[in-house]
């Protein structure tokens, strides 16, 4: 499982911030050529981002680039400059419908052929950021095999809804739920929107805990100071891991006894409980918290 808990935006027009990318422990860095870059700096940002990606060969994290929307005159130039520097993928803004993703997929395929890369090399994370995008998210989620996650962009979404964004985020609840469902149904990871107040760490913690409960697997962020809190919230608790290991042990005993159900501390352990425990263990393994041989055979028993 590829961890994508924290997806950090770094403005493409800021050399000082680009040079610090290797230092911060975000799972994914997204060099931003879109909203963070003023129109007169689009060219310079593209070149800076390209040069940085070329020099950053010993990468310790996934590198995505947020290009400008495909409906703008900048997107094709972005792709032409950036793709030869081999980012891991593209964060696609304004993914209002599956056709936008399909269009990007075609452009990426052309570049992969041109560069002699394996087709599917470049991944896509589309960003759902309008009412239309939310409604179409089920179709968007299955629009390309390059998709590794769906992302939610609340700033543009609330603008499209003509509402204000609040710290408690009730106005985002139904959109978030819809996007999580769409992503889960398609087997994708799902990334929540940024938390804009970089000085309110407790509110960030609360929001991250909320979106984790909703099913999100990661969060976009705008400041490296937010990374640690996001990782902390997504880190499984020691008790959760301990319980998951007990569940695995219990189900193994059950299978040895020829049944798929067993009682553990007075509570029933069956297939859905095992699936949940397996998810906790997969996360703990990916975090490097435990060393455990978790195969399909362990999770589902012998077929």
């Amino acid at each position: 499982m590829k961890l994508r808990r924290s997806l950090l935006y770094v403005p493409g027009n800021m050399p000082g911030m680009l040079q610090n990318i290797p230092v911060f422990e975000a799972d994914v860095v997204m060099i931003d050529l879109e909203d963070a870059v003023p129109l007169q700096e689009k060219d310079a940002a593209r070149l800076l981002a390209r040069n940085f990606l070329r020099s950053y060969t010993d990468r310790n994290k996934e590198m995505f680039v947020r290009i400008n929307g495909l409906d703008t005159p900048y997107a094709l130039d972005d792709l032409r400059e950036i793709l030869p520097a081999l980012p891991d993928g593209i964060r696609l803004p304004k993914a209002d419908n599956p056709e936008v993703v399909e269009k990007l997929d075609t452009l990426l395929t052309e570049q992969e052929e041109h560069l002699g890369l394996e087709i599917g090399h470049f991944k896509i994370i589309p960003s759902i950021e309008s009412a239309q995008g939310v409604l179409n998210s089920v179709l968007t989620a299955v629009s390309s095999p390059r998709l590794v996650a769906l992302a939610f962009g609340a700033e543009d979404f609330t603008a499209s809804m003509e509402i204000d964004r609040t710290k408690t985020g009730e106005e985002l609840f139904s959109a978030r739920t819809q996007i999580v469902w769409a992503a889960k149904a398609a087997g994708l990871q799902v990334i929540d929107t940024i938390f804009p107040d970089v000085n309110d760490m407790e509110a960030l913690r609360a929001e991250t805990a909320l979106i984790k409960r909703l099913g999100f697997t990661g969060k976009s962020l705008v400041n490296p100071r937010q990374i640690e809190i996001i990782h902390e919230v997504f880190r499984p608790a020691a008790k959760e891991i301990e319980h998951a290991l007990e569940v695995m042990d219990a189900i193994k005993r059950a299978r040895e006894m020829g049944t798929g159900v067993i009682s553990l501390k007075g509570r029933m352990v069956d297939a859905p409980v095992v699936t949940r425990a397996a998810r906790v263990l997969k996360t703990a393994i990916a975090f490097g918290m435990i060393d455990f041989d978790l195969t399909d055979e362990v999770i589902h028993g012998e077929k």
Partner: protein
Amino acid sequence: MAKNSLGREIPALWRGRTLDPYVDPWNKKPEVLRATRPLVRRHPSDSKLLPSLRAALEKCELRDGMNISTHHHLRNGDLLLNLLVKELDAMGLMDMGIASSSVHDVHAEIIPYIRKGVITRIETGVNGLIAQMVSKGELKCDIIVRSHGGRARSLVTGEVEVDAAFIAAPCCDVTGNMNGVHGPSACGSLGYAYTDARYAKKVVAVTDNLVRYPAAPISISQSDVDYVVQIESLGDPKKIVSTTTRVTRDPAGLLIAKYASEVIHASGLLKDGFSFQTGAGGTSLAVADNVRRLMAENKVKGSFGCGGITGYFVDMLEEGYFETLFDVQCFDNRAVDSMRRNPCHREISADLYASPFNRGCVANMLDCVILGATEVDVDFNVNVNTESSGYLLHNTGGHCDVAAGAKLAIVVAPSIRGRLPVVRDAVTTVTTPGETVDVIVTERGICVSSKHPDLVAELKRRNLPVKDIRQFHEEITRVTGKPRPIEFEDEVVALIEYRDGSIIDVVRKVHE
């Protein structure tokens, strides 16, 4: 011309002084008795109160070529040194020396008097414009940069003779009892002035807050003071102390702080009795913040914090993380307020704080100190005096004193400053020798001196990014490129004294 043990070329003689090249931190031993000052007899009816600074200067019988001193607790709010130099000029005195504890930007007002020859030498570190102009060759003024401990030593040994010390006293009575905690110019500790009060030939208390006898508490006492002068104002209260010392929000600074606190934790020093010094910079305070959290988590009760004190350290005292604060200078108003009301917040002299030549200084009792750097080199030598432009811009402060005294001296710095790498093949100027520096922490990695293989192993066990300093240097210069060397001329414009009085480096005129 001789080379000292760090390979720095030191002239044999400079402006009439025979120079003693640095050998190592512990090589030099004192061979003199303490300096003395004239004894005087005062009758009960004698008044010390004089009507003006001019009258005080005249009473001190100053002549051409003598030295005066002030102290820098009023920092950029200080008015006294400028007033004194103007009076020296008005009296027609020439070739005078300033042996203050530090000279700041506010003292750029004395530049015309340096040009005129009224002031020809500054026997201390200089922050800002004067030193920069001297480096450029635009101003002729001999500068000898001393650390806080080194300055105290030079006064105590008599190497620097202060003919008249002028002590800015925020609260003072007619006999000269004074403190720094009351009055409109309250600056807190008077730690640097203590040594002047004990060793200067004449001591003048200058106050803008003359109170009824006795001024209490007494920091410097009437028995050391010759004259008292009341003036309208000692300084600008807004600039006397900084009120903006707060934890950094810069993500790279916070990462440096996290690594530094992990190093302290891994060193094993963080146990009951832990003693700690850090500066007032945002990253240093972020280290303190992390250390406080670690002390809370591990239920550690520290013994003392020291150096320049901030509100942050005051909180740690009041919350019980430390039993005592040793304060040689207050950095903010909360520290001043704390010293006023908390007997565990102790004012100490620069001599007690950091002199290498007394019977034991507080710096020797430090477990851990966090220090800054403008440059470090692959031998762990540190520069805080000159910028990468080659200009002398900063005083040493207590840097080399506490590095020598503390069990663990950690230097924190961003790996890239501007577009320049902080780690160099060789620093432009050596302030603190690498043999007294234990760890260098940047946001890209932690470099540990070869003296500490156990610490390296423990940091690696904790998955911290430990890097060999030479490899780290190469890694950074791959990002920044190799900076073009600065061109210097042969002329030596300033000496960098190590705390023991030997010459650790010199500053040469920058070739324009």
